[in-house]
């Protein structure tokens, strides 16, 4: 039984477990205490001195990140004493800080800007020359603009205690101190890019994202990383309908505050321009664009009375895969998928967090919805079956299998080369950044992803298209909204029972029985 402690913060009564820091207790009370070096995913340092609060009856201001709550404490965050102390810290941080805002990537999402604007002095009093340190390439995706560094040491603590790869240090002493590393040891660790998110200012920046967009120009959506089966929660950010950056979103049960570099930097495929953006039907040797009604009708005609074999991408959402599985079920057919794999890369300081071998977001979902995992997925195709390829590529080894198909329907984001000659109907869909849906991660956690940009041309959400396609073979799954499709999925599949978009929220929820067994 955890002992609870009751205290008052800025006049709000709050009750937290013993051992909680005043800063975390303040969060629980809805009070933000300004801070830099503190981060819930890192060990406490207590060095920035920004979080000093006024505790009644205490002679000195207390560093709230490093002070545990005590019964009956009365904490004030905005007394004159505390405000002066914070203003003092801000002034001190700015004396050597360059006036880089106009050229600094962090502008608009910079904690130094934010707190200075909120509580800092309107002008500085420093009249001496500022110290200068050169920019350093730390390797990997990380560039270090030393002049902007406020020595919060979040990056050092991350590499030490979370990545277990202590290649960053604090070098020198006093106002000569900088973050340093050793020649030959670079930030190529699979999780090193997190220091960019952790840096409160524009000292550690992403080379990939350098100067691509201003923070306030970005469209943002909460999403799930599609690049492996871990299912890290992310924020996808786009400018002018092009994704420029993906960053982690906190989820205590999946990825804490982090995502790996493989996931972070692999967003360009979501920006591909070589998209199929109009429905097409075969006219002799070519595919001709047409309207949706015609394309869907043709597809329905092709599938009528035939077995349908689905080759699905494990990148498709649960909603899309469910609708495909219904098509399979009604036609007495089968479905399979193939997964690209790569080396795993765990983050040692966090339990059960790793770049997973399966480099696709919804392998578990595909398995749960009845698709078989095969190296040669088309071996299950029967002669004369309708081959329905859902956002997948065919590779050389598939040719023999594909040749057995009576007809091929392609539902996808891009038009594969072989489809120009083989496909009877092509239906364009949105990719995961252009629609809403859910993925199931390797542990059985179902998580929602949101839309951040518009699909090209006439492409429609995958669940919308597949709902219509299912309708052409006589099903009545309601598919005007993705939540309706998910509801149908939850009603039809026992593992998903009880789940809904409402219960999933933005943190996700486990499928039934997920705790008992673990997936690969």
């Amino acid at each position: 039984m955890t002992q609870m402690v009751n205290l008052t913060i800025e006049g709000r009564a709050v009750s937290v477990p013993a051992g909680t820091s005043i800063l975390e207790a303040a969060k629980a009370a809805g009070v933000l205490i300004p801070h830099y070096c503190y981060h819930p995913g890192l060990p406490v340092a207590g060095v920035c001195r920004m979080c000093l609060v006024d505790v009644e009856k205490a002679p000195k201001l207390a560093p709230s990140c490093a002070t545990s709550v005590a019964e009956g404490q009365v904490v004030r965050v905005h007394t004159e004493k505390a405000l002066e102390a914070r203003q003092g810290v801000l002034e001190m941080l700015l004396i050597n800080h360059p006036l880089d805002c106009p050229i600094c990537d962090q502008a608009g999402e910079c904690e130094l800007q934010d707190y200075t604007f909120q509580e800092g002095r309107p002008e500085g009093r420093y009249r001496e020359p500022k110290r200068f340190n050169p920019v350093e390439d730390f390797g990997g995706d990380v560039i270090y603009v030393a002049n902007r560094c406020i020595l919060c040491t979040r990056c050092v603590r991350f590499m030490d205690d979370v990545a277990h790869h202590p290649i960053l240090n604090v070098s020198e002493r006093g106002d000569r101190a900088v973050i340093g590393k050793f020649e030959g040891e670079d930030m190529t660790h699979p999780w090193a890019g997190n220091v960019i998110d952790l840096c409160p200012v524009g000292a550690l920046l992403s080379k990939d994202a350098l100067n691509k967009a201003r923070a306030w120009e970005l469209d943002r959506a909460a999403s799930v990383c599609p690049n492996c089966s871990q299912g890290c929660n992310i924020i996808v950010e786009a400018r002018d309908n092009t994704i420029v950056r993906m960053r982690p979103r906190p989820n205590d049960d999946v990825n804490k505050y982090f995502m790996c570099d493989h996931g972070r930097l692999n967003y360009r495929w979501l920006n591909r321009r070589d998209r199929v953006d109009v429905p097409m039907v075969r006219q002799g040797a070519t595919l001709a664009g047409c309207d949706w009604e015609r394309a869907l009708a043709e597809a329905g005609r092709i599938m009528n009375g035939k077995r349908v074999f689905v080759l699905a991408s494990p990148m498709l959402s649960n909603e899309a895969l469910f609708l495909l599985s219904e098509i399979v079920r009604r036609s007495g057919g089968a479905g399979a998928f193939r997964v690209t794999t790569g080396p795993e890369a765990p983050l040692p300081g966090v339990e059960d967090l790793s770049l997973r071998a399966d480099r696709a977001a919804n392998v578990r979902g595909a398995e749960l919805l009845g698709f078989s995992r095969r190296d040669k997925p088309l071996e299950g195709l029967g002669a004369g079956d309708v081959l329905l390829v859902a956002d997948e590529e065919l590779v050389g080894g598939d040719a023999a299998g594909a040749a057995k198909a009576g007809a091929t329907i392609v539902v996808g984001t891009t038009l594969p080369f072989w489809a120009r000659h083989a496909a009877a109907v092509v239906l364009p869909i949105a990719n995961m950044s252009e629609e809403e849906g859910t993925f199931t991660n390797l542990r059985g956690r179902v998580q929602r992803f949101m839309q951040v940009k518009a699909a090209p041309g006439f492409a429609r959400p995958s669940w919308f298209v597949l709902g219509d396609l299912l309708g052409t073979v006589g099903s009545t799954v309601s598919s005007s909204l993705p939540s309706e499709v998910f509801a149908a999925l939850a009603a039809a599949r026992q593992e998903f029972s009880g789940l809904s978009y409402d219960t999933l929220g933005l943190r996700g929820a486990m499928i039934a029985g997920a705790m008992a067994e673990a997936s690969a």
Binding site: H165, P166, I167, L168, N169, V170, S171, E172, R173, G180, K181, F182, E183, G184, E185
Partner: protein, 182 residues
């Protein structure tokens, strides 16, 4: 490991190697030095605690702590070179580049300042041929720097030449003092 065992006033044998090093890096911790390090490791419950003493051994043998030496020490103590470098750059007594045969440190903190330490520094700069603080003399013999309180304030001005601690240095006494260093 006493200072006399470490070499006292004599310049470390290997400084020439350090300054004009040719050929691949030769490890420090072989033979007797390795044995000393192994004995040192028994005094502490963690390997990391032997870091400062190990760096002193490197500096005695080579005259300075090079990056290769940092990597060697890191490997032996199961640390990363970046970590070792962070420690080396914190402590001012470890040289991160080769220095003159005789490294002269003059205290100029406030108590010595009011006793004329600045004149002592000037005298050293003049009589060693070093044009500036921190810059080795053209004959590679001397490097002169100002340091913070050496803890001999009542014997102003204290000066260190390599490992030798000399008290009560006056500007007039500097030429005589320097003549001891060949």
């Amino acid at each position: 490991m006493s200072i006399h065992e470490m070499g006292g006033v004599e310049a470390p044998a290997d400084t020439a190697h350090g300054r004009h090093a040719k050929g691949p890096y030769q490890p420090v911790f072989v033979g007797a030095r390795k044995q000393e390090l192994d004995e040192l490791l028994t005094r502490y419950p963690s390997k990391m605690a032997s870091l400062l003493p190990a760096l002193w051994m490197v500096q005695h043998d080579r005259g300075w702590v090079s990056e290769e030496a940092m990597a060697e020490v890191a490997r032996l103590l199961e640390l990363t070179p970046a970590y070792v470098k962070g420690v080396v750059t914190f402590y001012t007594m470890y040289h991160q580049h080769p220095v003159g045969k005789y490294f002269v440190q003059v205290c100029t903190t406030s108590p010595c300042q009011v006793c004329g330490a600045e004149e002592v520094v000037d005298a050293f700069l003049r009589h060693t041929g070093c044009q500036e603080l921190g810059v080795t003399s053209p004959d590679d013999k001397f490097t002169v720097i100002e340091v913070e309180c050496l803890g001999a304030c009542g014997f102003a001005t204290p000066v260190m030449v390599n490992e030798e601690f000399i008290e009560s240095v006056t500007p007039e006494g500097v030429p005589d003092l320097l003549s001891r260093y060949k």
